[in-house]
Amino acid sequence: MPNTTPVHDQIRLELRRGTLTLAVLSALRREQYGYTLRKTLADAGLAIEESALYPMLRRLEDQGLLASKWRTEGGREKRFYRLSAAGVALLPRILDDWHELTRTLDGLFAGD
């Protein structure tokens, strides 16, 4: 992206951090392993580094929103993730929060 400044980069990073969590949860309604998840997100326009994605998956699993299991596929051990029951129950509510937030912000921006 042209003409970014360090402050701009930092704010964009902060904006992305929360929304990436939402994107990951949403993409994991279908079981995927790290590589395909990254590709899904990248194809949708949300590129994310492995070094950021894997710790995030682990954190979400620690929080009980994801379940994972190791399975051999294509000759290699891979860790497959998908939403846990708690994650399935929580996702629609987080999506509601998201829509609510964007509506509120749109209202605020429309005041300009």
């Binding site: 392993y33 580094e49 682990r58 290699r76 051990e77």
Partner: protein, 323 residues
């Protein structure tokens, strides 16, 4: 051991104990995927140089492992203000007490004042470093073991001291203290005997020689001290704008630096030994002289930096203040 194993070994060393091997297996998978992707692009297996480049792109082992750390800081934002508070309150007291007690004890044990001063200074430096280190370790442990207490506290207006508004006193106090120091320097410069600083019985035969100072530019130094006293006096009665004060201060600093450089370039001795001294004191004299030159050189560099900063400050547009 191939290059990927080597890389993962370095990541592993930095990972927290919990889940270590699990995390490692996952990273191995991620790296394997990347490797497959890359070699599919090239249509052949990667060589070592390409593998290394790929791992470099993946990230430094320290950075990768840091992402899995639950507490990435030594002292977190909640405990840090308390840490800083304790440090600011206790450290000066500890330093002063160590210095005074150390100096008094050394004199009582028969050291001459210069020795006592140097010894107490060394002891104070040791105590300060040890205190900062120990306090940091203690707060590092507290950070990991004790949740920050603010949830349990409630701020009450009635329990806090009423705020007194005291405009300018800080600046006035500083200016008066600086004026006092400048006047003392002036008095001492004009009344000290030109060749010795301290009575020789205090220093065990060593005397600081002002010969070099007076011989070269004694009057120039006098003018610098006088101008400094004048500047602080004007600042104390608020007669100078912030911009003018910066400008004058920077100029005086630059002038002192130039004078000090000229002294450094002259060969006159800074320390002379007086009275009957043993031959071994010759070496001591050399060491003191060298130390003094070094200190003067550091002071020159510091003054020049301050002068440049002062000029920049004076020349840039002043921000509007709220009052």
């Amino acid at each position: 051991m191939n290059i990927i194993d080597q890389y993962l070994h370095h990541v592993r060393a930095q990972l927290p104990q919990r889940n270590r091997d699990d995390v490692l297996a996952e990273l191995r998978e991620a790296i394997g995927n990347r490797q497959e992707e890359r070699s599919a692009e090239l249509g052949r297996a990667l060589n070592d140089a390409e593998l290394e480049q790929m791992l470099q792109d993946f990230g430094h082992p320290l950075a990768i492992a840091a992402r899995y750390r639950s507490t990435p800081h030594l002292i977190g934002p909640e405990w840090f203000p308390i840490y800083l508070f304790v440090l600011k309150r206790v450290l000066p007291v500890a330093a002063v007490v160590t210095f005074v007690v150390g100096a008094v004890l050394r004199v009582a044990w028969g050291a001459v004042p210069v020795q006592a001063f140097l010894g107490a200074t060394g002891a104070t430096a040791t105590v300060v470093l040890a205190f900062v280190g120990a306090l940091t370790i203690v707060f590092g442990l507290i950070e990991r073991r004790v949740p920050a207490p603010f949830g349990a506290f409630r701020w009450r207006a009635s329990r806090t001291k009423p705020v007194e508004v005291r405009p300018l006193t800080g600046r006035l106090g500083n200016a008066l203290a600086a004026l006092l120091c400048a006047l003392m320097a002036l008095w001492w410069w004009t009344s000290a005997p030109p060749h010795t600083l301290l009575p020789t019985k205090w220093t065990g035969g060593l005397a600081l020689s002002w010969g070099a100072f007076y011989a070269s530019f004694g009057y120039a130094w006098l003018m610098v001290f006088f101008a400094q006293a004048l500047m602080h006096a004007l600042a104390a009665c608020n007669a100078l704008s912030a911009r003018a004060l910066s400008l004058v201060r920077a100029t005086l600093l630059a002038a002192s630096a130039v004078l000090a450089i000229m002294i450094l370039r002259s060969d006159a001795p800074f320390i002379i030994t007086q009275g009957a001294v043993a031959a071994s004191d010759e070496q001591l004299t050399l060491i003191f002289s060298g130390g003094f030159r070094l200190a003067l050189a550091i002071a020159v560099v510091a003054s020049l930096i301050q002068a440049v900063v002062g000029y920049l400050h004076a020349l840039r547009p002043m921000p509007r203040t709220w009052d």
